[in-house]
Symmetry: C3
Subunit: 341 residues, 3 copies
Amino acid sequence: MTPATTLGELADRFGLVLAGDPGAAIRGVATLRDAGPDQIAFLANPAYRAQLPTTRAGAVVLRETDREAAPGAVLVSRNPYADFARIAALFEPPVPRHAGVHPSAVVDPDAVVEDGASVGPHASIGPRTRIARGAIVGPGCVVGEDCVVGEGSELVARVTLVRRVRVGRRVRIHPGAVLGADGFGIAMDQGAWVKVPQLGGVVIGDDCEIGANTTIDRGALGDTVLEEDVRLDNQIQIGHNVVIGAHTAMAGCAAVAGSTRIGRWCLIGGGAGIVGHIEICDRVTINAMSMVSHAIREPGTYASGTALQENDLWRRNAARLRRLDEFVRRVNARLNPREEP
Amino acid sequence: MTPATTLGELADRFGLVLAGDPGAAIRGVATLRDAGPDQIAFLANPAYRAQLPTTRAGAVVLRETDREAAPGAVLVSRNPYADFARIAALFEPPVPRHAGVHPSAVVDPDAVVEDGASVGPHASIGPRTRIARGAIVGPGCVVGEDCVVGEGSELVARVTLVRRVRVGRRVRIHPGAVLGADGFGIAMDQGAWVKVPQLGGVVIGDDCEIGANTTIDRGALGDTVLEEDVRLDNQIQIGHNVVIGAHTAMAGCAAVAGSTRIGRWCLIGGGAGIVGHIEICDRVTINAMSMVSHAIREPGTYASGTALQENDLWRRNAARLRRLDEFVRRVNARLNPREEP
Amino acid sequence: MTPATTLGELADRFGLVLAGDPGAAIRGVATLRDAGPDQIAFLANPAYRAQLPTTRAGAVVLRETDREAAPGAVLVSRNPYADFARIAALFEPPVPRHAGVHPSAVVDPDAVVEDGASVGPHASIGPRTRIARGAIVGPGCVVGEDCVVGEGSELVARVTLVRRVRVGRRVRIHPGAVLGADGFGIAMDQGAWVKVPQLGGVVIGDDCEIGANTTIDRGALGDTVLEEDVRLDNQIQIGHNVVIGAHTAMAGCAAVAGSTRIGRWCLIGGGAGIVGHIEICDRVTINAMSMVSHAIREPGTYASGTALQENDLWRRNAARLRRLDEFVRRVNARLNPREEP
């Protein structure tokens, strides 16, 4: 049975301006292209504006400036994507959870599972670890010693917290993520590697989200830290003793090497790499697949790499690039014999 | 006890032209360099042609054009690599499987495990999920609610299907893969992130293969789709609502951002990245570690990036590249004062 | 209860020259900035030298050349990072382990778990597999058939050894790692893919370390090999039949395609990619995010890619780079009409 509401209720609840029938029944959300008369759609990305005039949606959440192009009811919003997200959450199907500790789970006698927490099938919980009220440890998770999973947080399934990982409140960690594994500390001595013990932990602030198969190593000395509301996509790698400022978001496959500090409200593109031991200030955007090899002290957008080219052209240009310095020197010598070397 | 066959049986079974003793016993496969008289080798990649004259293999699967250089028996094929693959499959050791549901597995009462399916140790199966005939859910897998694992498909071990994941027939999914995790949908509102519910699912076509620790997020609205016979290597990231056409293959660590559509028979190189919300037509090859930032409308091969260089040379060239636009403008001004700016 | 020692004991044990009170009690290790009077700090990376004069550490492990700048006791070392690592190991808290086989683990009757080995909760061990003395198979690990986990090795948690994986002695493998999955072998035939069976295994030498969510595929024919003391960070991808020489280290998210051979004492930077079927000689350093597309026959440091730039500058330079070959030809034609084309 799908829950139902009305356009009027949605407008009231989220403070939106409705143009349309407040009694119209709404049973779900969909895209502009696919929505039917009992569904809400939205328009935020201008790339999809062409789909607005022909939408069959019961109402469209959009900006005042797009209102005229809508064929039917609208919910006017100053932030259509965020308001659509809030509306969509009403229609998210509930996820079944076993209350309490599943009989197949293994909980250390020195662990604490608070009332209202859920520990799923085949999970294991180590000594001196606390699963707080309303927290969910999903099937197949391994939580080691000296960890905390804060109130209302969820380890969806097959998450590992190795040791000394303190997770704040309302954090969501997706399957396959590994937090608190040994940082990569090795010292070369007489031709062989000596392992550097990793004695710190990991601290995850409230309201963070951590994607599937993402890895966050624990600190060598001191902790690896995500401040509150940091959002990490899948397959991200965070080295030991990294600090990521509040409200920063990173797209899939980005990586940050050890001891680097990233500011607040940064946006790190997919596949971007950031070297170790540097600082990046607040409000920096790094484009996808760029490499950051030095500190960034000014807010703004940064990029590296080259544009995609048809392969034959790429080969010719890459060959020229290999000799660019030589070429520039030669040209400069001809054009400006006394100037730049 | 290794199974044995003869050259004649192999030639008959796979429609190959045999030059050699049809009664010769064959007990396995190996490389040109390592094969002995009771093993089959193959030659497909010209890089290994130099090993042909000295091979001790019982027979070599090769193209007509390589036949003369072979020292012994040959099986002539128009596609040696594919025919070798079919021969090798005869010698693959069988993998032990527990029939039925292992006593340590946890199966929701509202799930269906069909006759002849196998659910391994410490697996868990959620409500309204169906494991079809002959399907294998290996040890430590977590299959959430509203999923299907189709006939003859195999989740090798420790695979997670989070929810609303429909896997077709004869699909193989390797350990650590996560399908159906939340897509990365977040909306910034007044300085903090609002989570965008991910209400869609994942659809995997027949005969797909999905590598270890690969992640495929479920759609925000509508599904993320792999058509039939898509082949994904390890550690690939597929964002929500991506559609990948039939017979496309992607090498390790490639990534595709949300809502992008990739055509059929494409080859995506290792570590390549494809931005979101674009279309790539059929029969496109992307070189390893290239970044695709715009739609591709013509079949062909594409690349970005720069060639590897000795580090000192790289530094000089990279420094020149940072000032390339300025340099070109300066040179153009000198050489063509009235032309290109 | 933290273990305690004295400066004199540390100097004796590790052969360091002490300047300070040999009886001073030491209860742990910390950074130069955070260490207190009962803690050891170290100085190896010159970037942290500015923190030396104000440290409150009980003693600092450092090079002779830094000795004068220290405000208090010092332990003089020719390799401060390695000696600090050895000291720090004294203070690593012990990790609790269940002795023997946990009742929830599933061990095949044809597997051998030697005395003193530990098999954790929800682990499963396949037929013809041996877990050697003192080895640890942590919670949620899946070890398939025909594997060996050598003496004193540890699979921390949720590690998968799919099949035919032989792990040496004193190897540490972090959570989510997958060793021995099918290599990515596919052959195109008449428009569809044919799977190439992966009949080899994986061999991991003594004293290797393998990071979280790293994947190492088993060989197609023959084995994928890591020689002794290879150190792999998180989320690394190693294709089938790769061979990595002893003492080589690779940082996070690096990837090596199939059948490539890497020498000894190489350093592969984070996110670097190495194509298949090539050889890299001993003592090669590859910078982070570089792509290696050809064999390397000379020791040294190599790089590809471009430097990070402010986005508007990047766009202008990238546009020029797309036309670099054309530009060079045009300039050469003007400056050297008879020379280089």
